[in-house]
Symmetry: C2
Subunit: 341 residues, 2 copies
Amino acid sequence: MPTSEFELIQRCFVDQGLGFARAGVELGIGDDCALIAPLAGEMLAVSLDTLVAGVHFPLGSLSPLDSSAAAPALIANRALAVNLSDLAAMGAAPLAFTLGLTLPHDDAQWMSEFARGLLPLARQFDCPLIGGDTTRGPLAITIQVHGSVNALRAPRRSAARAGELICVTGTLGDAAAALQLIGAESHLGRRLAFSREPNNSDSDYLRSRYFAPSPRVAFARAAAPFMGACIDLSDGLLGDLGHILAASGVGARLDTLTLPFSPALSNTLDPEQCELAALSGGDDYELCFTAAPTDLSAVRDCAAALGLPLSVVGEIETQKGLRLSRGAEPIESPPSAYQHF
Amino acid sequence: MPTSEFELIQRCFVDQGLGFARAGVELGIGDDCALIAPLAGEMLAVSLDTLVAGVHFPLGSLSPLDSSAAAPALIANRALAVNLSDLAAMGAAPLAFTLGLTLPHDDAQWMSEFARGLLPLARQFDCPLIGGDTTRGPLAITIQVHGSVNALRAPRRSAARAGELICVTGTLGDAAAALQLIGAESHLGRRLAFSREPNNSDSDYLRSRYFAPSPRVAFARAAAPFMGACIDLSDGLLGDLGHILAASGVGARLDTLTLPFSPALSNTLDPEQCELAALSGGDDYELCFTAAPTDLSAVRDCAAALGLPLSVVGEIETQKGLRLSRGAEPIESPPSAYQHF
């Protein structure tokens, strides 16, 4: 008799400790529904993302047939991280997540390693697995995260106002370089080219930026009171900032000379390629947000307390559209943002 | 320039009215997270299900390349219905749903029809679409539903007690017969055989039972105060009742002569085949629940008020295991429940 779905889930997810208890989760894995009790006065923020093998992570090096033991854990970590990043972009505190895992065949070892890959982030963000579905089919992962947020403080995409500064956390472009490094396509296709072959240390750094993005939850929770609009950078700064501009009915100017690059990126790409990676490479999962100039020092304090770089890269303007420059020199034809289809 | 994901979602889902406003939904489609405000004193019940083409619905007749205009709408309707059924099994009132849709290629018409197929149930249960993700890949649909429930009244799987009666709503086995009818495999594989070819009316009825299951939300909301444990029947009565017995640490006896069959099923299958379909066919999405004998008349009143058949099919017992009989005659080797892998 084959192992039942129920037993597999028990063994791989529950027994590895992913279904841990926490305040706000009344009932977890094992019933028709999980039950969540939001904090008094708070709302529930929810976000769902699907990652498909061969589209959202490289299939060649990460299929269930691959011999690399780390692969399922890397996919798992990334899948949960990009979802937690959506909570960060809303200023929400993680509460719990659900998982829809589609696997080509029964592979308890793959599932175990996948479950193990979820555990560090789940623990770090006190965000247990509370339910989901395991199905047979082409490898894909859907995660929905649930967070708690004071609705009045959630920095919505529609809240950007002319005169506010445009800020980004961390450094941009690393994830696109990582994909180039492992021979996979970023949102830029194959338009990136290394000017110097990365050394081991730079290579490891860039890979970790793609496979293990750091959801900026703590920063967002602290800085949300000072934010106008906020979004996380999944498609690249051009595309994602574009969503803020469209939702807020405003425009912006952006000086690409102020874009933050990591030493690893600057070591291996020419400046124009760094700029391309930052604007349209995507997958960095840093935050892009707006803040009034008078709130900038408060925002900087929040970042500094966490050792997180913070850069002002532009300004919201009344005139619609996005105006790019390198210092004083306008850029006429910016690269297009990533298109999903 | 290709149509962006954002525009597709706008056109197919939002413009068709799926993102309608309702109390409890503070922020819907279009931001990093949706915001849900549960009712005072209520908890949020959540459930996620993935449906994969070729596994959870027949691929041959329903692929995006198929010429049948109704197909995407049928898939959509079924995907939302089976999720709403999980809310029913928890006695929860639907609030909103999220959707992860993975499609092999950009097909606005397919998506439009899919969206149109979601609308009737979304409206009927006042359950708008509040967010999700559209990705490229092998056809699969993940839906998470969110409902509101008084946690003290939610009939958990672990709440069955010896002496309670085992009840089922509606009729069982119809969905397995429908799959047999369209040449697809049910949870039983191909073990069903029609003793008589169904006439058009019976055929239409059986198909509708598979493609358009009726989530028993209204009944469950009314009857929840009288229920012990409750589960919805996705894998077949044997498997699903088994989950209640395991979670509650009890056993049960079941008399198959009391199983409810539709006229369409009885017209086309021999009695033993009806029994097999009901016990292990799955996909009926009726409710199986327990109730104290003293609450049976109250439960019957709830069903009668909705014109819903209600059958008592067995009793919870202290002795573990499931004991099947046909009247007084014990059944020695029951068919195994559906295994996902």
